[in-house]
């Protein structure tokens, strides 16, 4: 089944050419093993996941911790995180000089694969509808549209390793009419041709990029023209496909089967992720990792699942531990037994529980590092299982062993910004995610207490005191349930009881 023969050897390839080696594949719509390699970058064994960045960083993981405490070999970056000031002003990232401006700007290690797309994963529906020539984006300062030409020029400038072609997908729209679907295919094809044309214009000394073609989340016959043209005209110029609905993988033309498949079909659970692996997806962005982190949930699952202690038992194990729970307050054990991540080897549950309840940012840092380690081990387990030919059984055992969904969020997370969360409504009608941080007419005492939580001293010298920027303060910690009186109540003074 291997299609390796058709591919040139790695050493023959021009320096920035992506190579995808399928190491094990049985039949279409089955799990497969591969290796994604690009000279100068660490190879990625697939199935695998990319770090899902926000404004250039994996949330809560500063660039030094990314190097020291994670094993991520690739990241996904969204262009919309960088171009909010346009059209009034040239976005700063385009003014970075030298090699690989985007990589430099976000301080990504040289050996980490950089994948760029227009929209975040998952995208927040933009109130600006796509048009024949433009795609609506949602930036941190509101929505805007960019043209296909703009996108292509941005890619050329930013020099990512891989670019995900622009797709005309009306995110957030529940039902899409047939006419609209026709348009989706037509526009996506045009935009693919634009980016391919742009790539052709690259000078010899310019750094090349690899193009992943979107496969639209619509029925095959409604995008058949597009797919045919991909195969007939563009196959040699594309290096992978981006999947938005993994159940449509059976509609993928056979001529494209050798290409790596990057999924934007957001899995809500590890089980959903396994279902996609089972359909032959190679590379994922996994937004539920950061969602769990923000909710204070330390992921706790392995693949294959451990053997059931009691075969008769119908009790399923939780996929994560809610670190907000006070039962951890005295627990000096690691988040997950045996986990070798920084958080588990250096810290314990009691500290993480304290950090969450004290709203200290380090709580999310530690859980995020842990959750990425859990996911990394999960994917290693998947690859082993495929290798051993036991994936089907392991998948079934996993579903039987674990609860079908991640635990419900109970505690407060960091403040969520408009560009970060997914709206269920779509159509630009965004529900209020963050209740008002300040209650109106907050009393002086309350304000002092609130400031106290942030270490602000009321008697600060006025001439040198910082400007307290409420927005910045609120931006990092969600305070709407901050009730200092609750904390004060917890202060036990021994002398008081007598």
């Amino acid at each position: 089944m291997s299609v390796n023969e058709q591919q040139p050897q790695l050493s023959d390839l021009p320096p920035e050419m992506l190579d995808f080696n399928i190491l094990k594949a049985t039949i279409p719509l089955a799990p497969r093993l591969g290796r994604l390699s690009l000279p100068g970058r660490k190879s990625i064994l697939t199935p695998a996941f990319l770090g899902n960045t926000s404004r250039g960083a994996v949330p809560h993981i500063s660039q030094d911790n990314f190097r020291k405490c994670t094993t991520l070999n690739g990241v996904y970056v969204a262009l919309e995180d960088f171009i909010e000031k346009m059209p009034h002003k040239q976005p700063p990232v385009f003014q970075v000089e030298g090699e690989e401006p985007l990589r430099q700007f976000i301080a990504l290690p040289k050996e980490t694969l950089l994948v760029l797309g227009a929209r975040r994963a998952p995208p927040v529906p933009s109130p600006a509808a796509n048009t024949n020539s433009e795609v609506g984006l949602y930036t941190s300062v509101g929505f805007r549209s960019i043209s296909s030409e703009y996108f292509a020029a941005a890619v050329r400038n930013l020099q990512p390793d891989i670019v995900v072609g622009l797709a005309d997908i009306p995110f957030g729209q529940e039902s899409i009419g047939t006419k609209r679907k026709d348009k989706m295919a037509d526009r996506t094809e045009t935009w693919m041709r634009d980016i391919i044309a742009k790539r052709k214009t690259l000078e010899k000394e310019e750094r090349n990029f690899n193009i992943f073609a979107p496969i639209l989340p619509i029925e095959r016959d409604l995008q058949s023209w597009y797919l045919e043209h991909l195969v007939d005209d563009m196959a040699a110029k594309i290096h992978g496909v981006a999947i938005y609905d993994s159940f449509l993988l059976d509609g993928l033309p056979e001529e494209l089967h050798h290409l790596p498949r990057l999924s934007f079909d957001t899995p809500a659970t590890p089980q959903a992720l396994l279902r996609q692996v089972n359909l032959g997806v190679d590379v994922f962005t996994v937004p539920f990792v950061t969602d769990a982190t923000d909710a204070g949930i330390a992921l706790d699952f392995t693949f294959p699942a451990p053997a059931k202690q009691d075969a008769e038992s119908n009790v399923r194990q939780s996929l994560g531990v809610d670190m907000w729970r006070t039962e951890h307050a005295l627990s000096v054990t690691s988040l997950t037994e045996g986990c070798t991540c920084y958080a588990c080897t250096k810290h314990h549950r009691a500290y993480v529980q304290h950090l969450l309840s004290a709203k200290e940012m380090l709580g999310w840092v530690l859980i995020q590092l842990h959750n990425h380690a859990i996911l990394d081990a999960f994917f290693a387990g998947i690859r082993n299982s495929i290798e051993n030919g036991s994936f089907d059984n392991d998948f079934a055992a996993f579903e039987a062993y674990y609860e079908p969904a991640l635990p419900e969020k109970t505690g407060q997370g960091p403040r969520v910004r408009g560009y970060q969360f997914k709206s269920e409504e779509g159509q630009g009608k965004v529900p209020k995610k963050n209740p008002k941080a300040y209650k109106p007419l907050m009393g002086e005492t309350d304000r002092l207490k609130l400031q106290a939580i942030h270490g602000q001293q009321p008697n600060k010298k006025p001439e040198v005191a910082d400007q307290i920027d409420d927005e910045a303060l609120m931006g990092l910690v969600d305070l709407e349930n901050m009730r200092p009186e609750e904390q004060l109540e917890a202060l036990e003074v021994e002398d008081d009881k007598s």
Partner: protein, 407 residues
């Protein structure tokens, strides 16, 4: 009351003294390792330094940080600290910790607090029930925390208070409370209790208090009640007066000080140890401390500034990737500040490194006996013109033999 001779869990090795000013360089040996003096101590209020892992704090060069007794008493609470075996284990920090007494927060943050001879009495804002923090309880909490340096509970009132009788009472009470703290202290052989000199801006009160406190022979001595809105020249007079009366072989800690110019002047006045939340708090608002002043990187002018936060800085953010750093630019900080928590982490690392490095340079200059020249260079960088030098700093330094305005 005859002072009880007190064991000490530290040793103070004086390495050098400035031949002009009162500045000193020393090494302070504490239970969790040596620390260089003069020193700036970052404040990890709730057993965490604003998003940094203990390793990141260590990498920035920190070997002594603060925890706040008031906050740790609330969360995680004394029972948890006892069960886990203290704050070092709790936050996995292998180096030294200093804790305050909790009194400052009580009084300054809770308007409802009332100080009596027993302790600080306050009404729980939750249900109005009376609560009390005594010297004994403060020490008990700090014993549970296990910090390397613990502070006595003192009667803190704002330095600008015009009520001399109240100021005198507070000073005298602080002395009595020190005796109670010494009595209550369970682990003098592994935790160093520092007294705190009170007396507001009244130099006579400060002198009296200093004499009383010095007689108690605690391992270290703090000058408290400052950094509360008083004029800077009055602040300098208090520090200068107190250090003039202190024994040479003990560390001197001025509480709540952290602006770079305050640090270098206070060192010239003979102080060794400082703490302040400002460097780390201000980082969260996008403010970067540099030798040329504080830059607010949220200002749009920095959005296209692709230089490091500070040229020549050795922090992990500012060093280039070729130099083992990250090569973070001002433009990137602008891009993430107040939008991603990582923006706060990066700038916090820079600011901590700045403060610690400043003290390292101060120390080197003292050891090489060129501190007056260092001071001139420092102010020369911070202000583009001598006419902008703050008067209080010029006056205070003139008082210890350095004329910033001369060439």
């Amino acid at each position: 009351m005859a002072p009880v001779p007190m064991p000490s869990a530290l040793s103070f090795e004086l390495l050098g003294k400035c031949s002009v000013t009162k500045a000193r360089a020393a090494t302070l040996q504490l239970p969790h390792g040596p620390v260089p003096l003069p020193i700036f101590m970052p404040v990890a209020t709730q057993a965490s330094l604003k998003g940094l892992t203990p390793e990141q704090l260590e990498d920035a060069g920190c070997r002594l940080c603060l925890n706040n007794t008031y906050h740790l008493g609330l969360k995680p609470g004394q029972a948890t600290l006892d069960a886990i075996g203290g704050a070092h284990k709790f936050q996995s920090w292998p180096h030294n910790i200093l804790t305050d007494s909790g009194g400052f927060q009580m009084v300054s943050l809770l308007k409802l607090a009332q100080v009596t001879e027993e302790g600080v009495r306050f009404l729980s804002p939750h249900d109005g029930s009376p609560m009390l923090l005594t010297p004994e309880h403060s020490i008990s909490l700090q014993n549970s925390i296990g910090s390397d340096i613990i502070m006595q509970l003192d009667d803190v009132i704002t330095t600008t208070s015009p009520d001399l009788a109240r100021m005198t009472e507070a000073m005298e009470r602080s002395v009595r409370w020190l005796d109670r703290c010494i009595q209550a202290h369970k682990y003098p052989e592994r935790q160093n209790l520092f007294c705190i000199i009170q007396g507001g801006l009244d130099l006579d009160l400060r002198r009296k208090c200093t004499a009383e406190m010095v007689a108690r022979d605690t391992p270290g001595i703090a000058i408290g009640g400052l950094s509360g809105g008083e004029a800077k020249d009055a602040y300098c007079k208090v520090v200068d007066t107190c250090t003039g009366l202190l024994p040479e072989k003990k560390p001197r800690y001025v509480m709540g000080i952290g602006y770079p110019e305050d640090l270098v002047v206070s060192v010239a006045l003979g102080a060794d140890m400082f703490d302040c939340v400002w460097p780390t708090r201000t980082a969260r608002f996008g403010n970067a401390i540099t030798a040329r002043g504080v830059l607010n990187l949220r200002n749009a002018v920095y959005s296209e500034d692709f230089g490091p936060i500070e040229e020549g800085c050795r922090c992990v953010c500012c060093r280039s990737q070729e130099d083992g750093g990250l090569g973070i630019t001002r433009a990137y900080i602008y891009h993430v500040t107040a939008k991603e928590t990582t923006g706060a982490h990066l700038l916090t690392m820079h600011n901590v490194q700045y403060q610690l490095n400043l003290m390292r340079l101060v120390r080197e200059a003292i050891i090489e006996d060129r501190y007056p020249a260092f001071l001139k260079e420092f102010f020369g960088k911070l202000y583009d013109d001598k006419s902008k030098y703050p008067e209080w700093a010029v006056d205070a330094l003139r008082g210890v033999g350095v004329d910033l305005l001369s060439d």
